[in-house]
């Protein structure tokens, strides 16, 4: 029987990786995937706690999150495409016309 803590630590680790990825990766798509990673870490947390509490709320939440993530993915990819159209690259470092 694996103690709940391990799951949580794993989730936390995933979350942090995702966060780190968002901060450092230069390809817009990869950055976006990192965000997804964070969301999934959250899901893991939810499920772990659901297991701990032994109720359904966690599971339900996870499903909702997945659904929302899908919606976000839709709009997100569209935006990335728009960016690519307008400047022919999806490099995050190039997307800094507006500053100061």
């Amino acid at each position: 029987m694996v103690p709940i803590t391990y799951y949580l630590l794993l989730a936390a680790a995933l979350f942090c990786m995702g966060m780190f990825g968002v901060l450092v990766r230069t390809n817009a798509l990869v950055v976006f995937m990192c965000v997804e990673l964070m969301l999934n870490a959250v899901n893991l947390t939810f499920l772990a706690f659901a297991r701990m509490h032994g109720d359904g709320i966690g599971h339900v939440s996870a499903f909702f999150v997945i659904a929302v993530a899908a919606a976000e993915a839709a709009i997100g990819l569209a935006i990335v495409i728009a960016v690519f159209r307008s400047r022919g690259s999806v490099n995050v470092d190039d997307i800094r016309t507006m500053k100061h």
């Binding site: 966060m19 968002v22 901060l23 470092d93 997307i95 800094r96 016309t97 507006m98 100061h100």
Partner: protein, 740 residues
């Protein structure tokens, strides 16, 4: 005989009837000023002359009536009025007054439009309006070529009105109105020919210098106000009794007349001396209020010294005399009226008015006497070397005023007042004569370039001679008697614990007499006798019109006849005789004498000068005149062409440059102030406050904004990073909270 006496003793208009119209005396000139000033341009020359002169003439007539009323003793019942501060039985005799109600009041302070005419102000009324009228008349001819005539007469009328206010005021603040009013008028008149900026500057110099005096005057007034309230707080029944009053009565007087009324101050003065007993005397410390800790005597001395500074400003005494010579920039009639006859004597009048307070402080009196003596001497010395006829007269005025101050300082108020009157006559005559000379010689003022006028300008010459003799002090002219009366008093009065003063001042006085005789004869000789100087402007001078000569004649006549005032004709109460004028002023000066007697601050002696005194004075004067005659008739003509010794030239230059007093003031006073102002403006105001503090704050704020703005790199990941850091910080803080 009795009929005539009775006629003179009954005023044509009963005093009580006349009193309410005292205000007219001031209003008439004021009206004249208004009419001339506003409509003068349209009225035309003749009408303006008419308006201005008749306004003054009317004022003169009214003054005559007032004067007459003050001496009214119909049926042996002397004119008298109740004293608001005294008990019913103690009345002010030989005086009429009228109170036109409140001017302004705040808290327990009030000032009324109160007018008072007694013998002192009465005689001055006559001088002001009388001499004033003559000078107006004179001016009608003197200013005939000037376009600004209407302004001129407006200002002149305005001046007379202000001067009348000054003398008729029954309280200090109203007096101050006249005091500043005459200053304003003289500012306008000195700068009358404003297109010449030097003349305009002279006007400003006069006003600002006077303002320095007024500064002291104001503070003195405030001190008096404080003293009165302190006195009223501390005095007990005996004090009031000594002053012939009672607490209730006095307070009532305060509440309806205000604290700075002369009659009220007189009462306080009467209560203050040590001798009279009571809770309050000169050595009593003031208990409460801002002055607490100081004694009444000390405060009184301080007050009087402040008033001295004020008077010095107005009457051109040390250290503030410098404006008067420059004031000659104004038209000559102005110099005659304002800077000789009337305004400059305001200081003397002020001290006569407040004589009863003055005698409380021997220190102040000594100071006044010494200041007067020194001023007089200095001015006389400067007058030696002046070649501008008006400048010489100006300095002689300063000198004569100094003599009056000596008299005031030594407690011979009546003599000082008398000298004031006589001086008004002969000095006005001199100035007008000078004006006539200038008028006849193309406005030439340098006596070196005149000479030999006695043939061309007979009237002018004659009158000038008379008044010269008068000022020089030659028997039997008025100047001699008045001046000698002053010196006699100076010699025989003694200030408490300051005996040396009288000796000193008397000695100086004799020197001054000699000097006066010298420089006046010099002027006369150089101007009228001898041969006409080659560089004269016009080949032949012409005698002036009757408008100008008539006043000269009258004034000359007056400067002779006023001598009667000095003759000991009236029986003295203590036996013997006393001079007419002393007797005449005694109703005004009696309180002062009483105070002096009680306080023992000054020993007043009322011996009449004997033959010896006369002789000495006469000799002195003669010697001075003789020296001048010798030098300028014999010596210098002989010296022509010979080199002048160096020391003589040096002395002469110094004297000509008025001992560099103006330069001194410029250097130690005016320059520094201007410099400080400039530094403050550039450094403190513009730099420190505005640039560094105010704009600095704005600048720093903006720069910080610019700095923060740099954080917005436009890089989404940087943004995210910062967010992450912030979260981290928050989490850490939270955990710390947990652990603690």
């Amino acid at each position: 005989m009795d009929g005539i006496v009775e006629f003179f003793r009954t005023a044509p208009i009963p005093p009580e009837v006349f009193a309410p119209s005292l205000g007219l005396i001031i209003l008439l000139p004021l009206l004249g000023a208004f009419v001339c000033g506003v409509f003068g341009k349209w009225l035309g020359r003749a009408n303006v002359h008419l308006v201005a002169c008749s306004a003054i003439a009317g004022a003169f007539v009214l003054s005559l009536m007032a004067f007459w009323a003050t001496s009214d003793a119909a049926g042996g019942r002397v004119v008298s009025m109740p004293n608001a501060f005294g008990l019913d039985r103690d009345v002010v005799r030989y005086a009429i007054a009228h109170d036109y109600g409140t001017w302004f009041a705040a808290g327990d302070f009030r000032v009324n439009f109160g007018l008072l005419v007694d013998h002192l102000s009465g005689i001055l009324l006559l001088v002001i309006t009388g001499v004033g009228f003559l000078i107006h008349l004179y001016s009608t001819s003197y200013m005939e070529h000037d376009d600004g005539y209407w302004r001129f007469f407006a200002y002149l009328n305005l001046f007379v009105a202000a001067m009348l206010t000054l003398v008729m005021a029954d309280n200090l603040v109203l007096l101050f109105v006249g005091w500043e009013g005459v200053g304003m008028a003289s500012y306008l008149l000195i700068g009358f020919w404003y297109t010449d900026s030097a003349k305009a500057w002279a006007g400003r110099k006069a006003f600002v210098t006077n303002r320095i005096g007024d500064f002291a005057f104001l503070i003195g007034t405030f001190l008096l106000i404080l003293t009165v309230s302190a006195f009223n707080r501390q005095a007990d029944a005996r004090d009031y009794a000594a002053a012939g009053s009672a607490k209730a009565r006095y307070e009532q007087g305060l509440s309806e007349k205000g604290p700075v009324t002369f009659k009220g101050l007189e009462k306080m003065a009467l209560a203050l001396p040590e001798g009279v007993g009571g809770a309050v005397s000169l050595s009593t410390p003031i208990e409460a209020g801002p002055l607490s800790g100081y004694t009444f005597g000390g405060v009184m001395t301080a007050t009087m010294l402040l008033f001295l500074l004020g008077a010095a400003g107005k009457s051109a005494q040390l250290p503030l005399y410098v404006w008067l010579p420059d004031a000659m920039a104004g038209p000559t009639p102005v110099s005659a009226l304002i800077h000789a006859a009337t305004m400059v004597t305001a200081g003397v009048y002020l001290f006569c008015r407040m004589s009863s307070l003055l005698v409380l402080s021997p220190t102040a009196m000594a100071t006044i006497a010494i200041v007067g003596a020194l001023t007089s001497l200095l001015a006389a010395l400067i007058a030696f070397a002046q070649d501008d006829i008006k400048k010489v007269l100006a300095y002689s005025t300063v000198s004569q005023l100094g003599i009056m101050f000596m008299g005031v300082g030594m407690g011979v108020f009546w003599a000082a007042a008398l000298h004031l009157v006589t001086h008004a006559c002969f000095k006005a005559c001199l100035f007008l004569g000078a004006g006539s000379v200038m008028h006849g010689n193309g406005d030439e003022t340098d006596i070196k370039k005149l000479g030999g006028l006695w043939k061309e300008m007979k009237w002018t010459h004659a009158t000038f001679l008379v008044s010269t003799l008068a000022i020089t002090g030659i028997i039997p002219l008025s100047g001699f008697f008045s001046k000698d009366a002053v010196f006699h008093g100076v010699h025989h009065n003694h200030l408490h614990e300051l005996h040396w003063v009288s000796g000193l001042v008397y000695a100086l006085g004799l020197v001054i007499t000699a000097c006066t005789a010298f420089y006046m004869s010099r002027v006369y000789l150089l101007t009228f006798t001898g041969r006409r100087s080659p560089e004269a402007r016009v080949a032949h001078a012409h005698e002036s019109a009757w408008h100008m000569t008539l006043p000269l004649v009258i004034l000359a006549f007056l400067s002779v006849v006023t001598l009667v005032y000095a003759l000991p004709l009236m029986p003295r109460s203590g036996g013997g005789f006393q001079p007419l004028f002393e007797n005449f002023l005694s109703p005004v000066l009696r309180p002062a004498e009483a105070v002096a007697r009680a306080a023992k601050t000054v020993v007043l002696d009322n011996s009449t000068p004997g033959f010896v005194d006369y002789l000495i004075a006469w000799m002195v004067a003669l010697s001075g005149g003789a020296t001048a005659a010798f030098l300028y008739l014999k010596f210098f003509p002989a010296q022509v062409g010979k080199p002048v010794p160096a020391f003589a030239r040096a002395v002469r230059r110094t004297a000509q440059n008025k001992f560099y007093v103006d330069e001194l003031y410029e250097f130690i006073l005016i320059r520094p102030v201007k410099f400080v102002a400039f530094i403050l403006f550039r450094v403190v105001d513009a730099l420190v406050i505005d640039t560094v503090l105010v704009r600095g704050t704005a600048y720093v704020t903006e720069k910080v904004g610019f700095g923060l703005r740099r954080l917005q790199t436009g890089d989404a990941q940087a943004y995210a990073a910062i967010m992450a850091l912030a979260i981290l910080g928050g989490a850490v803080y939270a955990l710390l909270q947990v652990l603690s």
